[in-house]
Symmetry: C2
Amino acid sequence: VSERLEVSYELFCGRGESAERKARGIALEQTVELPAATLPPGIESAMVGRIEALEPAGRNRYRARISYAPETIGGELTQLLNVLFGNISLKRGIRINGIAWPAGLLHRLGGPRHGIEGIRRLTGAWRRALLCTALKPMGLDAAALARRCEAFARGGIDLIKDDHGLANQPAAPFLERLHRCQEAVQRGNAHGGRNALYLPNVTAPLAELPRRLEAARDAGCRAVLISPWLAGPDSLRWARDEFGLALMAHPALTGSMFGERHGLAPELVIGDLFRAAGADASIYPNADGRFGFSRRRCEAINARLRGPLGDLRPAFPVPGGGMDAARAPGWVRRYGADTILLIGGSLYARRDLVRGARELLAAVREQQA
Amino acid sequence: VSERLEVSYELFCGRGESAERKARGIALEQTVELPAATLPPGIESAMVGRIEALEPAGRNRYRARISYAPETIGGELTQLLNVLFGNISLKRGIRINGIAWPAGLLHRLGGPRHGIEGIRRLTGAWRRALLCTALKPMGLDAAALARRCEAFARGGIDLIKDDHGLANQPAAPFLERLHRCQEAVQRGNAHGGRNALYLPNVTAPLAELPRRLEAARDAGCRAVLISPWLAGPDSLRWARDEFGLALMAHPALTGSMFGERHGLAPELVIGDLFRAAGADASIYPNADGRFGFSRRRCEAINARLRGPLGDLRPAFPVPGGGMDAARAPGWVRRYGADTILLIGGSLYARRDLVRGARELLAAVREQQA
């Protein structure tokens, strides 16, 4: 018995557009891409999406549920994305706000290799929210970035990642940055710090991606940063299976998917998809920062990363994007201990990075005590 | 002297939102990701985007031009996408509608290896629009798809591609489909056909992508189909450099980028970016078909694919998506001979695929005579 992938849509119909035709159009477009009349016998029942429900939800608005046979996907993430939103991305007024996943598909995608427990083990931080910061700005040379890395490690930050815009630019080329920062984090850990990890940004063109992952592993890194929408949606799975490093996902470029009337709900991409593809931690723009996500949206992302999802391990939510260090304890109270707080700019506003990090760690520890 | 990447934005400001702050926010967000006050000396002038122009363009609407130093990118496609729309994808009301490309960056990205002339050479069709169709629907086995492939080749279709939803599903697994269809196209060419190419869909997870490209090349294919937004934006460049096959790009999932008030203009993605990354031909949803692109938008895409773009070869536009065979001559008149017409469903509505293809070819030839 094959479990079907069931997708919930919100449909926004234009003047004179029939919701039935729109739903039926999706069911055909995402599978056979032919009018039903031209289909050979047996194909319609086996392959075309099945409309499970369709009901009005307001003025020119409808809710639809369409289920897809696993045979339309075949178990590959690329084709899964295509069934979800490939061709209909080019249409209008279609928003996916729920996915009921077949357990077999989730199992096949595999999910986090380390997950929340694995990252706690790597950092040695067991009972509190974790702290993350970003090395920046671009334009500094590798030695200057490494000094910042050492200071953050001495101050007790758990996860020190490259800014996701640090790629392989001339100011701080990847390999030099990798080695200097990895040495720096070890020095910082040895001099007053704890067990911080440095996460280099391995996001790169396809020919480079394996070289950067290999270099990171060989340098002793235990975790890396990837932007899946830049490096390719499957890059997480591939990095997990080939290199075994812990993976933090960055949402760069995914925001184009999050239209209010067209696209996918953010918690399905940054939550379900990234977790299923192997992210052990997933960054998102926290409420009240530089971006416009609501608290409710952020809590939905937390729930999709940490809650039950087939047999997949839970992943850490990483709220960030303009989060003020002074408000860190409040976010821990709201989101709970299984959270990584990403705090960048507000730490840099301090002259003394070590002290800023220490005070932040003390505040978060106190919150958790 | 370094040439800067200059990006034109349309900004939609919310109530009380200042256009100056919004433009300045973009310039910082896409580069240093820090407030200007926390930047070390020299970084601002070297790295932060420079606002070249900002002017009102209607109620709460503005036009801005911001230029970026090549040092913020470093020559890699992944980081180029990040500078263009990485973090700001997560904001609202920012639409990129123009890009002035530094010649050096284009040269480095490399563009089409074959281009229009190369594809004409491969197909032997020199003075007319080319014809393309898709093998479908999913659910048919490889033998049945191959029969369709042979019929289209006998009828004179130039480029016979997999439907982009044919991945590696159980009904027609990739390798079996590849070999059967490649043999079929050769049989069709030998029996009444011309010089048709079969383009297998190599879109796949990262571990599989090189295997599928290698298998396609070894089977004798000269061209393949890739959906870059599914396989990863850099997959075109990589396939071009590693395998040398001609590349047809499919726009699956890119539509999420094309919001009217947030995103990138389609001609910049399906046109500039795909061409720069190496697409020899780029599919888009034609006007008056199942999708909503206007004729003007389609002509803009044609222009970006065929017109001057640094030292890059021109690429074929491939309008498709519900195009009626009966209207093919009209589209050739409008778009010109350097066009590949993608006609799928309307050919399948004919009982006799060979005759349908022959009549289509005759009509297009007559138009061109």
